[in-house]
């Protein structure tokens, strides 16, 4: 009969109105600046560069292989490779980015850079409060703004970070064991050994540069 459906609808809204005072299901508002949603672990927003230790410059994992720059769908990464090298987390000398810019006014948060990075150097941040009235100053993030510590990574993505840390530690162990073995085997040939390490690192970097190979971390092992 005419009016029945309308009354039913009115009942539904009334239920929600009353419910909003008594039930949490019926008042789903999260008052953002004061309250926040529980962080979701996988959340991704913009990339950042992970560094180990305390010094962002020294501990940056990025070896400036430029894979992410090539694979980035909207082409928002800009890398200038350094001319010199510095040791990475296993102590192997590597290139590092002299300049690493991400234009987050272009970035589409697709995570492809993270997927393709063989060095676990670039990860996704969860920071979203980036609105600014300064388009260039605020939205083009340089190396210093991008660099965030591994602790930060562990805090925002604990599961992934734990995995990554375990893998890196394992690698480091392997490398150290190898180095130890090599050192024991050829303790005398110190000069020759250091030269070999250098070539290995170079070849790894070359491999990494080549787009078709080096898709996984194994590729970098000396």
């Amino acid at each position: 009969m005419l009016g029945e459906g309308i009354l039913k609808g009115l009942g539904e809204t009334a239920r929600n109105f009353v419910g909003s005072f008594v039930s949490e299901d019926r008042l789903t508002t999260v008052e953002y600046p004061e309250q926040r949603l529980l962080p979701i672990e996988n959340t991704r927003d913009f990339p950042f560069l992970v560094y180990d230790g305390a010094d962002p410059d020294a501990g940056l994992r990025c070896v400036s292989c430029q894979i992410c720059e090539k694979e980035c769908p909207p082409k928002c990464i800009y890398i200038v490779k350094s001319t010199d090298k510095k040791p990475d987390y296993v102590g192997k000398p590597q290139f590092y980015p002299a300049r690493f810019d991400i234009d987050i006014s272009v970035c589409m948060s697709c995570q492809i850079c993270v997927e393709v990075c063989p060095f676990e150097a670039i990860k996704m941040d969860t920071e979203f409060e980036l609105s600014t009235d300064d388009r260039f100053g605020g939205l083009i993030l340089d190396k210093h703004k991008l660099a965030k510590s591994n602790e930060h990574f562990q805090r925002i993505h604990p599961t992934e970070a734990a995995e990554v840390d375990a893998r890196l530690a394992e690698e480091k162990e392997k490398v150290e064991a190898k180095a130890k073995a090599a050192a024991e085997a050829a303790a005398a040939k110190t000069a020759a050994e250091s030269a070999a390490a250098k070539t290995a690192a170079e070849s790894a970097a070359r491999k990494a540069e080549d787009g078709s190979s080096g898709s996984d971390a194994e590729g970098v092992k000396p």
């Binding site: 009969m1 005419l2 009016g3 809204t13 929600n16 019926r26 508002t29």
Partner: protein, 400 residues
């Protein structure tokens, strides 16, 4: 302070204040005080209503609504007012600037006039004239012209279409609105709002003699409410400003202060029509139960007003809007016959009362007869309406 003084608090205040002036000026001062009262109180309620509406809608939609400006967001309308008053006032180049300016002014002035005869409490009416209800309808009729002025002067297709719709709708619903109101006038035997309220004054047991508790009164009230919704362009009859088709209806081209005036006018119109609905059917300033009469009359009036406003908000939060032709059909093919029938039923009620005499059995008989006629008519009319529109619930088949 006893309850009687509290009840007459504002009347006495007006009296004492005007007594400070020389005798010649006293009626004028008293009048001005009344006007000031209306002009101060109702816009304040309007401001409160906007924030309550936004919060109420929010609650219906599982959210909070404005709550950051001032405590509980209560200062929100003040911020809106400051913003609106200082916002640039744009008059479109091709617009008719005089009419464009006059339209909102005429609207607000006309609607304020309607408050002159609205009794907001015992002895609290600005003009106690004989033909008060007629004044209300006359004033309501002139708001249509201002809406037309707004739509026409903007020289915008959407505005003009919105205005045409609004005027057509308001004219159509004015008829059932008037006819619904006439029932109460008939019974009270007066066009004066105060007399109508007084006619609903007494109590049977603890229950009051409000017209809404009679079959014809209830039907009249329901019809009045529906027509009032349409008359004030509230959901589900908010077609003139139907933003899904017409952007913002007749005030599309209005900005800043003038837009605020329209906004004000619209809400004042809603409150005034709600006030008359209360006066005609809900016993005006009367208390709902005999043991509650100690609460001042004006408090009852405003309590009822807020309830009515809440009802409007509730409807708005629930219902989608009708289409123009359905709206018209509804007015002419459903509302009009039903309200005419309701007139007859009211007359019958009167005569049955005289024929059957007094006594509980006679009362109940009368009640049942009148109610049955109305319910029957309602069912018949509703059925025809739905059948003509070919509306029915459906069932669905599935393919595996």
């Amino acid at each position: 302070m006893n309850s009687a003084t509290l009840d007459q608090f504002f009347v006495l205040l007006q009296h004492h204040l005007s007594a400070l002036f020389p005798t010649v000026l006293q009626p004028w001062v008293s009048m001005i005080l009344g006007v000031v009262g209306i002009v101060a109180v109702f816009p304040a309620i309007f401001a409160l209503t906007t924030v309550l509406e936004r919060k109420g809608l929010g609650r219906m939609q599982n959210r909070l609504g404005p709550n950051r400006v001032g405590p509980f967001g209560i200062l929100q309308p003040i911020a809106d007012a400051i913003k609106s008053l200082t916002k640039e006032d744009i008059v479109p180049r091709s617009a008719d600037d005089v009419v464009h300016f006059l339209a909102p002014v005429v609207l607000v002035v006309a609607i304020f006039l309607g408050y002159a005869v609205l009794p907001v409490g015992r002895n609290m009416v600005l003009l106690n004239i004989d033909a008060g209800i007629l004044l209300f309808f006359a004033v309501g009729a002139s708001t249509e012209l201002s809406i037309f002025m707004a739509g026409w002067s903007s020289r915008n297709k959407y505005s003009l279409l919105g205005a045409m719709r609004a005027v057509a709708q308001m004219i159509s619903y004015e008829v059932p609105l008037l006819l619904a109101a006439v029932v109460a006038v008939m019974m009270a035997g007066s066009l004066a709002p105060t007399a109508i309220v007084q006619a609903q004054g007494g109590f049977t047991g603890i229950f009051p003699h409000w017209y809404v508790f009679t079959p014809w009164g209830f039907a009249g009230f329901a019809l009045f409410v529906v027509a009032a919704l349409a008359e004030t362009n509230r959901s589900p009859f908010d077609l003139p400003e139907g933003e899904s088709e017409l952007v913002a209806g007749y005030f599309t081209e209005y900005s800043g202060f003038k837009f605020a005036l329209f906004f004000l006018g619209e809400y004042l119109g809603m409150m005034s029509i709600a006030g008359y609905g209360i006066t005609l059917f809900l016993g005006g300033w009367g208390a709902p139960f005999s043991f509650l009469t100690f609460i001042p009359s004006w408090a009852w009036f405003f309590a009822k007003l807020f309830l009515a406003i809440f009802f409007f908000i509730w409807l708005r939060g629930t219902l989608p809007r009708l289409r123009q032709d359905q709206l018209m059909n509804f007015a002419w093919k459903f509302m009009l016959p039903l309200s005419l029938l309701n007139l007859c039923v009211a007359a019958a009620w009167r005569f049955l009362g005289e024929c059957l005499g007094s006594g509980t059995v006679a009362e109940v008989m009368r009640w049942l007869v009148c109610a049955a006629v109305l319910v029957l008519a309602y069912i018949l009319l509703a059925r025809t309406l739905l059948r003509r529109q070919n509306i029915r619930p459906r069932s669905y088949r599935y393919a595996d």
